[in-house]
């Protein structure tokens, strides 16, 4: 494998990691707000708080890691995307900033407030919507380059069916992934009321999630036929994705194997995400930028890969410890262990 491929694989894997952990977090924020409005908050509040409090910071780091990594491996992306994305990127920063800090203010500041929980819920849906802009414009046709000046075509972006399709896909996926994880977490906590409610949410959002996936797949044909053709050649990956979705939903519906169901949901998104990524190859931005343009030098690539491996050796045991204490420790999950600051 060339350095370029190693680099993009590592980064894509991290972006996938972000997709999963952030979706759980974003969706949890929305469900928390929604149930508060409908006075059902007491049912799922504990489950959500118990899981989120120790892990929320970790989520943000996945994103930062991806951004720093892509600049390290593919410095030209900083130039193209950096210039084009000033406004959508800033909007994402603001939403992330509001979400992160108000979560901490509410949780540690020890005061429940409707306003905080509204911010937390609303940003949970708006952040994925704003971040998907990057994937949308990567398909090409949304950016114009005059004499080296990169410009985002806002009319094109807001007027295109594909771009809205991706936004809706992102939002419904967030809700589906989150609900299926929280269903599993509630079942581990043996919290029947929370389980019933969250299971219902998982089932409600399963259908829109898969439908939007298929809709976007076909919308891409109009937007970028070349990419669409490559995707069709990888049909088996999307096939696995669909199959995983079907089994996962079946399990949740039949009220059994919630753990396996969530793993299947992860596989569903893994195959779809990588299928999308591999068929996008080698373009980072159609048609201007491929992974072979302006790749960083070999010394830097080697150094980054070594640093990456060393970093993983440090992180994997730490993440394991975190999960052991808060995700797999039955007493903690069930609320038998204190969670006092």
């Amino acid at each position: 494998m060339s350095y370029e491929v190693v680099g993009i694989t590592v980064l894509w894997t991290f972006l996938y990691g972000y997709l999963i952990v952030a979706s759980v977090d974003f969706g949890a924020g929305f469900f928390s707000y929604y149930t508060k409005q409908r006075k059902k908050n007491h049912i799922i509040h504990n489950i959500i708080q118990r899981y989120l409090s120790p892990v929320w910071e970790v989520t943000n780091v996945f994103l930062v890691f991806f951004i720093i990594g892509i600049i390290g491996f593919f410095p030209d992306t900083a130039y193209y995307y950096g210039t084009a994305l000033l406004v959508p990127g800033s909007v994402a920063i603001i939403l992330l900033a509001i979400r992160g800090s108000y979560y901490a203010f509410a949780t540690y500041g020890a005061k429940e407030s409707k306003w905080y929980s509204f911010l937390y819920g609303a940003t949970g849906l708006l952040i994925p919507a704003s971040l998907t802009t990057v994937l949308t414009i990567s398909e090409g046709g949304y950016v114009r380059i005059d004499n080296g000046n990169v410009q985002l075509l806002y009319g094109e972006l807001f007027g295109s069916l594909y771009s809205w399709g991706v936004v809706i896909l992102a939002v419904v996926s967030v809700l589906f992934i989150s609900a299926s994880f929280l269903t599993y977490y509630a079942s581990r906590a043996k919290d029947t009321n929370a389980l019933n409610l969250l299971r219902k949410y998982a089932l409600i959002w399963s259908f829109p999630a898969i439908t939007m996936g298929i809709v976007v797949f076909f919308l891409l044909n109009k937007r970028n036929p070349e990419h669409f053709q490559n995707m069709v050649e990888l049909w088996w990956m999307f096939g696995i994705s669909f199959l995983s979705f079907a089994i996962a939903t079946y399990f949740i519906w039949k009220k059994r194997n919630y753990g396996t169901a969530f793993i299947l949901v992860m596989i569903q998104y893994f195959t779809a995400f990588f299928g999308y990524g591999i068929s996008h190859f080698p373009y980072l931005l159609y048609p201007y930028l491929t992974i072979y343009d302006g790749f960083t030098n070999e010394t830097m690539a080697t150094a980054l890969i070594i640093a990456f491996i060393a970093g993983l050796l440090l992180l994997i045991p730490s993440l394991y410890l975190l999960m052991k204490l808060f995700l797999f420790d039955a007493d903690y999950v069930e609320g038998k262990k204190s969670k006092v600051l």
């Binding site: 193209y80 000033l86 920063i93 600051l341």
Partner: protein, 451 residues
């Protein structure tokens, strides 16, 4: 009225984000060490007051970390959005430490999550203490890696430019450039110093308000002893930084010191104003001091501003930033040493009101010194973003709308800053030390020591 200039707006917006972030970043690097020291003291002396101190500091810390994390994320994104050309060059040359910084922070974030929620989970107190070590290491390592990037901006090396293309890159040489040793040690130790003084200021304020529990005295003593050590360390490193500047960035040193004529036996100028024909008025001159700062002896020749091309000089107001930073540094060293000395002399009163006020003032002043230090470092590098290689105007975005973004971010940081203060105040007001001590049934030694 103003013509839209993306370079100017990008500079203002970056200044704003960095100045806001650095408050939280400084605390983020410094406070974990203070927490670790307090928890350690609690175990070694078997004194629950120190343990509670660590616990309360950690609780306040997490709120500042949250703002630090989100503004840190903002910087990463904003650097790419506002300085795309710089980030492209940086990706080729100094990407490695940036990449490692995220790992360091990742590591810290994981253990912070664990640390906060496991106070009563282990039988052995030592086990919980061990969890704070990775937080201290992660926080300091983050500062280390990110400061190497800033050092690189001051003394870029480890690459060649052939026909405008960056080649022959050596990531380690770029990381360990001549500015690195003094810069990282200066940044890290001043983070510790500032954290000690911020926490010390809180303790001093509590005592000034008439709270006479021994807990506050212990907190004040702990922060002032550590503060004194870090302040002395800061002074030594500050001296070495002067020698670095003399050798590698003489124009920055000359601008900081309003030093126009190249000469030996150069005096150090404190304060003063500059007339239109560049004459220094009303300043305090310390003979020979600049030569000594620059080279360790009075006969060191210090290059003056007149010997540099005028369009490559930073603005001369950085002199005040430099003076402010140095003055506050000395003030902090003096106050903390006086406190420690008074406290050591058994029958002298270290808790007199004037001294407590002086300690309290040290809190905000130390943060002001951090700000002025960074303003000096960054503005002092102008017009360069990469010293001698790329100017800020070459690096900036050409994009529209930076002005609107500036406005939006001003609002964002104002709201975040205010809420952060409100939340912190409420957290500690609703749950005072005295109340918490009672609630947890801690009565340790308080009677013997309180008098």
């Amino acid at each position: 009225m103003f013509e839209y200039d993306p370079v100017l707006y990008s500079r203002i917006l970056t200044t704003l984000t960095l100045a806001f972030h650095v408050i939280f970043a400084t605390l983020g690097v410094g406070i974990p060490l203070m927490i670790a020291i307090a928890e350690w003291m609690g175990i070694k002396r078997n004194d629950p007051h120190y343990t509670l101190m660590a616990r309360r500091w950690a609780r306040g810390f997490i709120v500042t970390v949250a703002v630090g994390v989100v503004t840190g994320t903002a910087i990463v994104l904003q650097l790419s959005l506002l300085w795309p050309n710089f980030m492209r060059a940086a990706g080729h040359t100094i990407g490695l430490p940036m990449f490692m910084e995220t790992f360091a922070f990742f590591f810290e974030a994981i253990f912070l999550g664990i640390y906060l929620y496991t106070w009563d989970r282990f039988k052995s107190k030592m086990k919980h203490f061990l969890l704070v070590i990775p937080i201290v290491i992660g926080a300091t390592a983050s500062a280390f890696f990110i400061t190497t990037v800033n050092s690189f901006m001051n003394a870029p090396q480890g690459f060649e430019i052939v026909d405008g293309v960056l080649t022959n890159v050596s990531p380690l040489a770029a990381m360990f450039n001549p500015a690195t040793p003094t810069k990282i040690s200066h940044v890290i130790i001043t983070c510790y110093l500032t954290a000690a003084f911020i926490l010390g200021a809180i303790a001093a304020l509590n005592i000034l308000k008439g709270k006479n529990h021994v807990y506050h005295k212990k907190a004040l003593h702990l922060t002032m002893v550590t503060g004194a050590i870090f302040a002395i360390g800061t002074a030594v490193i500050g001296d070495l930084s002067g020698k670095y500047l003399h050798e590698y960035q003489p124009e920055k040193l000359a601008a900081a010191e309003w030093h126009f004529e190249t000469e030996s036996e150069a005096p150090l100028i404190l304060g003063g104003i500059l007339t239109e024909d560049n004459e220094v008025r009303f300043a305090l001159e310390i003979p020979y001091a600049l030569s000594i700062l620059a080279g360790g002896s009075t006969d060191t020749v210090v290059t003056g501003l007149n010997d540099f091309p005028a369009d490559e000089l930073p603005p001369l107001w950085i002199h005040y930033m430099f003076d402010l930073m140095v003055f506050i540094g000395m003030y902090l060293a003096l106050v903390s040493m006086i406190f420690v000395f008074f406290n050591w002399k058994k029958n002298w009163n270290a808790f007199s009101r004037p001294l407590l006020w002086a300690v309290f003032a040290g809190g905000p002043l130390s943060m002001l010194a951090i700000q002025s230090g960074w303003f000096f470092a960054e503005v002092g590098r102008q017009p360069w973003i990469l010293n001698g290689i790329m100017t800020v105007s070459e690096a900036a975005t050409t994009s529209q709308h930076v002005d609107i973004m500036l406005l939006v971010f001003i609002i964002l940081y104002t709201v975040l800053g205010i809420t952060c203060v409100v939340v912190l105040r409420r957290m500690f007001k609703n749950n005072s030390v005295e109340h918490e001590l009672e609630e947890r049934g801690i009565v340790h030694h308080s009677k013997q020591e309180a008098n």
